[in-house]
Symmetry: C2
Subunit: 170 residues, 2 copies
């Protein structure tokens, strides 16, 4: 899939089909994260792939805004290094690489932001030195139920030319 | 360009060719930013396109870690709303969409992180209520001088399977 087609069709998916993803697909998604750029090439991240069904079901208890994780093909728990000044920015670039690469292979995702971080760290043996940025579910979905309408501010509301307040089409 | 090819070849570019970008190309890049996902669809961002040469040259004085901005085809000053809890994450997703879309059209970029924010805000009439996340240069470049070797931590250093510490290839 072409890059612009991918960014312009990407939607958050919360309803998934019951379908496995093979290891080659999973590895391509996480590889897109590993290769992301970061300030000073710090790479302040770690990725835990969850593809066991019972673990995904257990994770649903800790993903407050994403209980649908129990049904996905796999998930990636994205860790970030709290000592790194640019951790949120850098690790988010890795997330966006993964989400877009997955979308280009017909796998949907959705940023899960509200987490019981302490329980997840205990459950997955994550050392205290790491923070969890997000948990990303990945799964196949029924394309017929995805809305193709993007509700976004208009170009006039967010674009300016050569200084703030000058519209492009003036 | 395919998405995975794009994320896996993307490099930061700091030396640019003296070549204009047409408005259609510029609009495709910023559109990739406008369409990015955000928490609660807040869209806590604004984009100022700079394509006048004298302005790019003036901006070079304020872009401490990116004086090469004077030579690029255009730049995007990316504003973010400090009142939004997820501002850095959301706006970085918009940045990564723009950088990848540009790369797929043979335009390089490089996150400029060290800025004289106060001077930029004065120069571009940016209201006090906005923060600047980054200034992104965009320009064509000589592909022969781009390194194709990515220095990244190995998969074994950053990937874990089903819990922290269990390697994928075990």
């Amino acid at each position: 899939m072409e890059v612009f087609e991918c960014v312009s069709t990407l939607s958050s998916i919360r309803v998934y089909e019951d379908r496995e993803a093979d290891m080659e697909t999973i590895q391509r998604v996480i590889e897109a994260g590993r290769l992301a750029p970061s300030a000073h090439n710090d790479q302040p991240w770690q990725f835990i792939i969850i593809n066991e069904r019972d673990r995904l079901q257990q994770m649903a208890k800790y993903c407050i805004s994403g209980s649908f994780i129990s049904k996905v093909s796999f998930a990636v728990v994205v860790l970030t290094d709290p000592r790194s000044k640019w951790r949120e920015i850098d690790t988010t670039r890795a997330v966006q690489n993964m989400v877009l690469t997955a979308w280009s292979m017909k796998l949907g995702s959705c940023w899960i932001g509200r987490l019981n971080e302490e329980e997840i760290k205990k459950y997955l043996n994550i050392p205290a030195k790491w923070d969890i940025l997000t948990v990303l579910p990945f799964g196949y979905f029924n394309e017929n139920i995805v809305s193709h309408t993007k509700l976004r501010k208009s170009p006039e509301e967010v674009f300016h030319l050569n200084q703030y307040g000058t519209k492009i089409n003036k």
